[in-house]
């Protein structure tokens, strides 16, 4: 076990999977010689060569399209989109092609591939280096969507994603790329199973659902709530599709109160789905209306980023609402 950052965890996962499976290849903009703009693919080209660590021309659609062609042929490509904000030229490839390949061909052709991309705000990146695009992908059948919230999960989930027989969108919370460091296993067999949520803090009074960088915010909010005498539970979803519905329902059944937390805009956001599922399946155990804490329904701002981003006090207000209903 060693103390590493989320960036190092991603790098380690890639190295381990590339060592154990020659079919794993990495491609994207600046992933080779430069090692990625966030250094996630550092040193890969030295170890695995330019044929398996490919610096591509600047075309997101081309990166994902080519990766699809590699995957149907039998490779396990791990394309990187430099910022999730730049993924849209590849949207057609992702939703029309990658996500539907297995279904439309009756499983004759499949796309075992992982699209890695940093997402989210909090790094002063403005409109085009800050967005959270998960809802666009969770809405598309055939995509598995994974969001780690710490180095341990990042490594274990990425390794599991690379071994998955189906395509995975792997969203890396770039705000916490470098902190905090954490002990992560070096065992080759270590993976974190896709589709399982984790209770990060056990509580009895209310549940906060979160993922990615918002898990930390949820935990802070619980600390603040504790001072008011309320004992919160934090459910880190880890995988958005397939959702660990069982854990969600179990948690709200215990607490009877739900605050959902995401940094993406609120309207038609992923958390709205959580809210709907709880309303459909567990309304009888709920003691207060569900509250959603989310980004505002505006483009992601630069200077006023700190206002846009959900913070612990804002979450506490929602907790207050559900606790005092």
């Amino acid at each position: 076990m060693s103390q590493i950052t989320l960036v190092q965890a991603v790098n380690d996962a890639l190295k381990e999977e590339m060592r154990s499976d020659n079919d794993v290849v990495v491609l994207g903009e600046d992933v080779g010689v430069n090692g990625g703009v966030f250094r996630c693919t550092a040193d890969l080209v030295e170890e695995f060569g330019e044929e398996r660590v490919i610096d591509t021309p600047l075309s997101e659609s081309g990166i994902i399209g080519a990766a699809i062609g590699m995957a149907v042929y039998g490779l396990r490509p791990v394309p990187e989109i430099q910022f999730s904000d730049f993924i849209w030229p590849a949207f057609d490839q992702i939703t029309s092609e990658m996500a539907k390949m297995r279904y439309r061909s009756g499983s004759q052709f499949t796309c075992p591939m992982v699209i890695r991309t940093p997402y989210g705000g909090g790094i002063r990146g403005g409109l085009y280096h800050s967005q959270s695009p998960e809802a666009y992908f969770t809405h598309t059948s055939g995509l598995t969507v994974v969001v780690p919230s710490d180095p341990y999960d990042a490594k274990g989930l990425l390794k599991a994603a690379i071994r998955s027989p189906d395509p995975v969108i792997f969203l890396e919370p770039k705000r916490i790329y470098r902190a905090p460091k954490m002990e992560v296993p070096e065992d080759d067999d270590y993976i974190v199973e896709i589709g399982k949520a984790a209770v990060r803090r056990e509580g009895t009074d209310f549940t906060i659902t979160a993922y990615g960088a918002m898990v930390e915010v949820a935990l802070k909010a619980c600390e603040l709530a504790e001072k008011k005498g309320w004992n919160g539970e934090v459910l880190d979803l880890r995988t958005l599709v397939p959702l660990d519905e069982e854990s969600l329902i179990a948690s709200v059944t215990k607490t009877g109160r739900l605050v959902t937390l995401q940094e993406a805009p609120k309207f038609s956001g992923y958390s709205s789905e959580l809210s709907a599922i709880v309303a459909e399946k567990a309304i009888d155990v709920m003691e207060a209306p569900i509250r959603r804490v989310a980004g505002f329904d505006v483009p992601f701002p630069y200077t006023l980023e700190h206002v846009y981003m959900p913070h612990a006090e804002r979450v506490l207000k929602a907790v207050d609402d559900v606790m005092t209903f």
């Binding site: 659609s61 081309g62 399209g65 080519a66 990766a67 039998g74 061909s105 397939p242 519905e245």
Partner: protein
């Protein structure tokens, strides 16, 4: 093709484009004309006047339009292969006619005819080896037949029944044939072009001697992924053959509204690869050009772009009425029938006769009829196929949706008799 006219045309258009980009506004009603006056009169939009259509003297040919072997040109193919190609071409035409009839009778939902383009499909198909991978367009049934796809599989797909390898999930003609390395077809145009580059790169990475070929139309060259795919293949020297079947129409849009380039083949230049214009109605020329490109790719000499110049004699699809946008222009192309041309060639070589022709038609029609009979009586795909193959394993939430469906509505869903593709 008049090279002089073509050159002037290019210069004039370039001038116009520069001025437009300076002004920062697209040309449209009310917008200012370019400051620099054009050097030549306005380009005539009529396709018959267009340097790219009609004229064939700059195209690679082996057989004359009258069916004679051109001087010094030999097919290099055995009698068996020549007759096999002819068979696939006739089979393609007969399948086309039958499927369109079935669609008109409401017995299948949709079809994409390829009448007049048989040479481009069959000639290419013969150039590939078993290990090669193909990304087809939706208008190349002749390629599938020539490559050994059983016709009953294709007919089953058109009926969307449980014998369809795609389990009725796609509209007709969106085939996928893993056994022949023919990758699944989708409807968005051009997306498969860059996928083909990726497969070719993968072949290289895995040390295979296989190559990848991709088919698309003139319209496809305007798509994002034509650029992405050609560019990436040029940079990586991937063993990929790009085959543009220029049938001169993208639904209602003629080729000269698709590009200001002098040809589609010339676009290869920008990507550092050779581009070859071929008479797409000459099956032997198509074979020869494709074989040469495939051999180059296999030998590590990198990718090639082929432009097979042919003509879409029929509608874009069973839902399209071409008289709305091109009148009766197709008539001029009727005497450019690639099947008739090849038949005359075979007859000139004493390889074919009227008796053989009639026998072949009878045999192929009987085969198609038998396939239709089987397909029409086959059951529709099982209800659970609605939920399978989304992922390798059916996840709990999809299982729940399936179980709820069966519980609420049972399993006896009959086909909707009024369903028809509306476009």
């Amino acid at each position: 093709m008049s090279r002089k006219d073509g050159k002037n045309d290019g210069e004039k258009r370039q001038g116009g484009r520069k001025s437009r980009s300076k002004q920062g506004t697209p040309r449209g009603p009310g917008s200012k004309r370019p400051k620099t006056p054009p050097k030549t009169p306005k380009v005539e939009r009529n396709p018959r006047e267009n340097p790219m259509s009609g004229a064939t003297q700059d195209l690679l040919q082996v057989i004359s339009e009258g069916g004679k072997a051109l001087k010094g040109k030999k097919s290099g193919l055995s009698e068996e292969l020549l007759l096999g190609m002819y068979r696939s071409m006739v089979q393609t035409r007969l399948l086309d006619e039958r499927m369109i009839n079935l669609q008109r009778q409401g017995r299948i939902g949709f079809y994409v005819p390829s009448t007049g383009e048989e040479a481009s499909q069959v000639g290419s198909a013969l150039a590939f080896e078993e290990e090669d991978w193909i990304y087809p367009s939706y208008r190349v049934p002749g390629l599938f037949l020539q490559r050994g796809v059983p016709i009953e599989r294709m007919v089953a797909n058109c009926f969307g029944n449980d014998a369809d390898l795609c389990l009725g999930r796609q509209m007709p003609v969106h085939y996928a044939f893993k056994d022949q390395n023919i990758v699944s077809i989708s409807s968005p145009i051009g997306t498969h072009i860059v996928q083909a580059t990726g497969t070719a790169m993968a072949q290289k990475i895995k040390g295979s001697s296989g190559v990848t070929a991709v088919m698309f139309g003139d319209g496809g060259t305007s798509s994002n992924d034509f650029h992405s795919g050609m560019n990436l293949a040029g940079v990586t020297r991937a063993p990929c053959v790009f085959i543009c079947t220029n049938n001169q129409w993208a639904i209602s849009v003629p080729q000269e509204k698709q590009t200001a380039s002098k040809s589609f083949a010339i676009k290869a230049k920008a990507y550092g690869m050779p581009g070859v214009r071929v008479d797409g109605n000459d099956v032997l020329a198509v074979y020869k050009a494709t074989k040469s490109a495939v051999d180059d790719a296999r030998a590590g000499k990198g990718p090639t772009l082929l432009e097979l110049v042919t003509y879409r004699r029929g509608p874009h699809s069973s839902s399209d009425d071409p008289t709305r946008y091109r009148g009766n222009q197709a008539d001029e192309w009727m005497d450019k029938d690639p099947i008739l041309r090849f038949r005359k060639y075979l007859e000139n070589q004493d390889l074919w006769s009227e008796v053989q022709e009639n026998a072949l038609h009878e045999e192929l029609k009987a085969g198609i009829n038998a396939s239709v009979k089987v397909a029409e009586n086959a059951p529709q795909p099982a209800l659970e196929t609605l939920f399978t193959d989304v992922f390798e394993k059916v996840p709990p939430y999809l299982r729940e949706q399936y179980e709820t469906l069966v519980q609420d509505e049972g399993t006896g869903h009959e086909p909707d008799p009024d369903a028809a593709f509306p476009l």
